[in-house]
Symmetry: C2
Subunit: 288 residues, 2 copies
């Protein structure tokens, strides 16, 4: 049982990790290899105190060096869900591993690509964010897959092994999917619709001559780097896609804290760092 | 009329300044030459993202370089008071200068030296924080002066010019005050007491053979680097010495924001930086 599990390796998560480390806490941090796409892609950051006009690449390099110096490892397994139990939390990865902790800090950022209408409504009823978790449910079925990044392309192949037919909506360039039952659509869907479960994917107009405006499907997968916090943690209270927190970064779930862009605007590095720091202090307080 | 005046040059104030600068706002920042005693005296900072195990001195140097690059000046005049007017704020310095702005960000830190019992009760009724503002009121009177730093020693001489008798309680080493009417006391007072105004300074026991346990005085000056925010800004709501703010760093006074240690624990650089950033965004929002 760890003291804390941090989900997210952007500056909010890193700030929390450095402070937990300084406070002698035993924790895990889940994130991505380059720590944060948002930071890495930033051209120049003009308002981060201590690093004048730093480039995103240099900032990532400095943060990596700092984590290495502090002996903090970033686990790159994708988190599938966080479950609040009686005496703590279980974090389940998409690979099926389980990790337990007394507290959780959510520093998941905000997905800049907005949700499809109907996505939240049908989550768990035909909408899934995890190919390896739910792929087998769609054996010989017809599914649509929205994939936002090349990094998750391998999951499309995984889904194509089960499904009879895959309609792929890729949001990146150089698509390399060889499975014969996969058809690409270069148009964003307008709405996920259905009766009790997902039945249809609706476009504003027919995407092409072969693809009708209303596509009959059995399931919809959205493969994104991060899922919305409310989906990740059942029962978590959010508002307009942001986690509701107080000044101690406490969420509505005891022992669950949040920091950074996922708690709302301004989407700024300094804000995320401040909140990560506060969340770590709140964790220490909670453990006491 | 400036867009904003920032009071305090610690990392909270600097973070606000860099963000206001990035947002093209016209502002002034008041602070001290070395930016922050707290930072400068820090041995190593272990949990500031981007600057691994940075020393306080190196951090101050990096911040100074950054302010210089961004062409942000730190005005070192001491602020005597902030007055909320109909269309903005007037900031009065101890030298008697006035500056006007539409908004204010308080980033004044926390005074680590605690207040004397009775100080707040008698503020404005014999207790003063400003020698140049109130010194002339004590012509031919007996006063006690608590001075926390060598940097403010010159104000003791100023007070000694007016007062008949000055009892000095210095909280620094190498006291160099030559005026004949100044007597030093090397003991902290326990309580400031009086009837309608300050009449007595009470010690737990007589400080020396010449100085009685209860000293008759007409006024009490506390010369500190910073005064409590509630004293600085009339009507500002505080709780246990901290400014009450919401998640947007809004105080109870419209247009007045706060950031950093003055808003409460944890007293951490990362927290202060985050709050300074948010306060600057709130100012931009307010001006819009």
């Amino acid at each position: 049982m760890k003291d804390c599990i941090i989900i997210g390796s952007g500056v909010g998560g890193i700030s929390a990790a450095l402070t937990l480390q300084a406070n002698g806490k035993d924790f895990l941090m889940f994130g991505v290899e380059n720590l944060s796409d948002k930071i890495e892609k930033a051209e120049k950051i003009h308002n981060y105190p201590g690093l004048p006009d730093v480039s995103g690449k240099d900032f990532v390099a400095a943060l990596k060096a700092q984590l290495s110096l502090a002996k903090i490892e970033v686990k790159t397994e994708k988190v599938a869900g966080v479950y609040a139990l009686k005496d703590g939390f279980t974090v389940l990865t998409q690979a099926g591993e389980q990790y337990k902790s007394r507290t959780v800090i959510l520093a998941t950022g905000v997905e800049s690509i907005r949700q499809i209408d109907g996505e939240e409504e049908f989550f768990g009823r035909g909408v899934s964010y995890c190919a390896t978790c739910d792929g087998f449910l769609y054996k010989d079925k017809t599914i649509a897959v929205l994939c936002t990044t090349k990094r998750l392309e391998h999951e499309i192949g995984y889904l194509a092994n089960f499904a009879k037919k895959v309609y792929l909506i890729p949001m990146y360039k150089n698509v390399e999917v060889s499975a014969e039952n996969v058809t690409s659509i270069v148009k964003m869907p307008k709405k996920i619709d259905g009766d009790r479960r997902v039945n249809r994917l609706i476009f504003s107009s027919a995407p092409s001559q072969d693809i009708p405006q209303v596509l009959e499907i059995d399931g919809f997968f959205a493969l994104r780097e991060s899922v919305s916090p409310a989906v990740l943690v059942g029962g978590l209270k959010t508002e307009n896609g942001h986690i509701i927190v107080d000044r101690n970064m406490t969420t509505n779930i005891p022992g669950c804290y949040a920091a950074g862009d996922c708690t709302g605007r301004p989407y700024q590095y300094a804000k995320a760092i401040g909140e990560g720091n506060i969340a770590a202090h709140s964790v220490s307080e909670f453990l006491r």
